[in-house]
């Protein structure tokens, strides 16, 4: 797998909001079908990174290559058309549109026939959405919205899915199902670049982790190695003395924001 060029290649990327630089020389790759988790403290630049890849922020330096084409400084609709699905953190559905209409927007670039076929496929994968096709997205629960947002991004079967904090605003019981669902995208060969506060739980479902600190890549490695790294555990995964005594899992406090 290492011989093939990566699906997504981010090189020496600088980005931010106006004069405020958030990302400094980010190097990051995602191979075809690989699931990568970016984690780090609040304000480390995780969401900024995802937004920049999705084209919602323009990088000030560096480049982003995807499937052999240069994508930085391209508008978001061109990046979506190139095959990158994007699920933002909050406000990730079109609230006044029905579930079906949200999915249709996800498949806006498909032919009418493909769109109908994909709509049925997606509703099979997400039966809950299938039951609520005519419901307005604004009336869905946090977990259902997240499912809808992911389903919408998957409509055109993108080779890469960007997920920004998928567990935000979702009940803890649903978070487990959500991560399992994301992990199941391996069967279709969909690569995932995910940003997550709930890093410990998320790491268990991905291939590789990238630690972001103050807008710089501090460390990258296989998920299992990072999970076992005591310093990473202490700093980013909420491993505390209390946890070592098996008292509680501090992450439970993070995921539950519904």
């Amino acid at each position: 797998m290492n011989a093939a060029p990566p699906l997504l290649h981010i090189g020496r990327l600088d980005a931010g909001y106006g004069a405020l630089q958030i990302l400094f020389g980010i190097d990051l790759t995602v191979s075809a079908g690989e699931h990568v988790l970016v984690f780090g403290a609040n304000g480390a630049g995780k969401s900024t990174l995802i937004k920049t890849v999705a084209g919602l922020l323009t990088p000030t330096a560096g480049r982003i290559d995807f499937a052999g084409a240069r994508l930085d400084a391209r508008p978001p609709e061109a990046i979506a058309a190139a095959g990158i699905g994007y699920v933002p953190q909050v406000a990730n559905v079109f609230p006044s549109l029905t579930v079906t209409e949200n999915l249709e927007i996800g498949g806006v670039l498909l032919s009418a026939r493909q769109r109908r076929a994909r709509l049925d496929d997606v509703c099979t994968v997400f039966p809950r959405l299938g039951e609520r096709r005519r419901q307005t997205a604004g009336t869905l629960s946090g977990g259902e919205r997240q499912m809808l947002a992911i389903a919408r991004a998957l409509m055109p079967e993108p080779p890469l899915l960007l997920l920004d904090e998928p567990s935000a605003g979702v009940a803890p019981t649903v978070v487990t199902r959500l991560f399992a669902l994301v992990a199941s995208l391996r069967t279709t060969g969909t690569a995932v670049l995910m940003v997550e506060q709930n890093a410990k739980q998320a790491l268990a479902h991905v291939d590789r982790g990238v630690v972001l600190e103050s807008g710089r890549v501090r460390l990258t490695g296989p998920a299992a190695t990072l999970l076992d790294n005591p310093e990473i555990g202490r700093l980013y995964l909420g491993s505390t003395e209390a946890q070592e005594r098996n008292d509680l899992t501090p992450n439970a406090q993070i995921g539950d924001r519904s």
């Binding site: 084209g55 609709e77 006044s96 209409e101 806006v108 991004a153």
Partner: protein, 286 residues
């Protein structure tokens, strides 16, 4: 009772005119978040365009559709030249520019068509008489055309991919683009529809008032705003309802209180509704 019904018929016709006009304005607001002050002049141009084309011998419905299409194209051209280059600079420059565009448009009409009112070439129709009630056919035609126009807008918004992308952009432009919605095309389609619907509103306004004059749309814009705000700005269905409420309010106020202040009643209704429901009848919570 007859008086009341008579007033309601006129109110519904005026409401239909306002509703159609308000839908066009609110559509462009929903997608662009900017209030196009030149919108009133699309009404004027629609009415004058229809007069002009009917003068060439086109049947009135054909002339109307042709005028709508022409004004729609003009709406796209104006937006591409005057609005879209300014969009990155925020809303205030756009707003001021659109006021300037409005003055250019209605004064251009004045140059070519003169400042005096021109009779709209609607054939003289004998009102239907139902008991003591006189039902003018012009008002009935206006109501029916307005209803048909609103049905078509509804079908476009909910039954076509274009309409769904317009609603998606209205909900969340950044998310729509990141989902692959071609924002430029949606914007162009919105300018076209908005201006074209405005042109139809102008034709209906001309039918109800029998004459056209260069600042008819500019003066009518305030009433259209009232309907848009009443319904909840950006909501097409709200605009339809808002238009009907304002139209009925104007006619009932004129009949039962004082004809001198007829349009003041529109704003009294507006203020009353907004006091109770600040985002308008169909406004989004949040």
């Amino acid at each position: 009772m007859t008086d009341f019904l008579q007033t309601v018929i006129f109110g519904l016709a005026l409401g239909g005119v306002i509703a159609v006009s308000a839908v066009g304005l609110t559509l462009s607001y929903g997608v662009t978040r900017f209030i196009n002050f030149a919108y009133g002049d699309f009404l004027t141009l629609g009415a004058y365009g229809t007069v002009l084309l009917a003068g060439f011998g086109l049947a009135l419905p054909v002339a109307t559709v042709a005028a709508m299409a022409s004004v729609g194209v003009l709406g796209v051209v104006i937006a591409r030249l005057a609005y879209e280059p300014l969009m990155p600079r925020g809303l205030l420059p756009l707003l001021v520019t659109s006021v300037g565009v409005a003055f250019v448009l209605h004064n251009t009409v004045r140059i070519f068509a003169g400042a005096n009112p021109i009779r709209f070439p609607m054939p003289l129709l004998r009102p239907w008489q139902v008991g003591d009630l006189f039902v003018p056919q012009e008002q009935v035609v206006t109501i029916l055309v307005a209803l048909a126009a609103m049905a078509v807008v509804h079908l476009i918004l909910t039954g076509t991919l274009l309409g769904k992308t317009m609603r998606a952009v209205s909900d969340d432009p950044a998310l729509a683009r990141a989902s692959g919605v071609p924002a430029g095309h949606v914007l162009a389609a919105t300018w076209f529809l908005s201006a074209g619907i405005g042109a139809l509103g102008g034709v209906l306004l001309a039918v109800t008032q029998i004459t056209v004059e260069p600042d008819m749309g500019w003066r009518f814009l305030l009433v259209v705003f009232a309907a848009v705000l009443l319904g909840g700005i950006g909501s097409p269905y709200g605009a339809m309802l808002g238009g009907l409420v304002v139209g009925l309010g104007v006619e009932l106020g004129a009949s039962y209180v004082s004809a001198d202040y007829s349009y003041a009643f529109a704003f009294l209704v507006l203020i009353a509704v907004l006091l109770l429901h600040p985002r308008g009848l169909f406004g989004r919570g949040g």
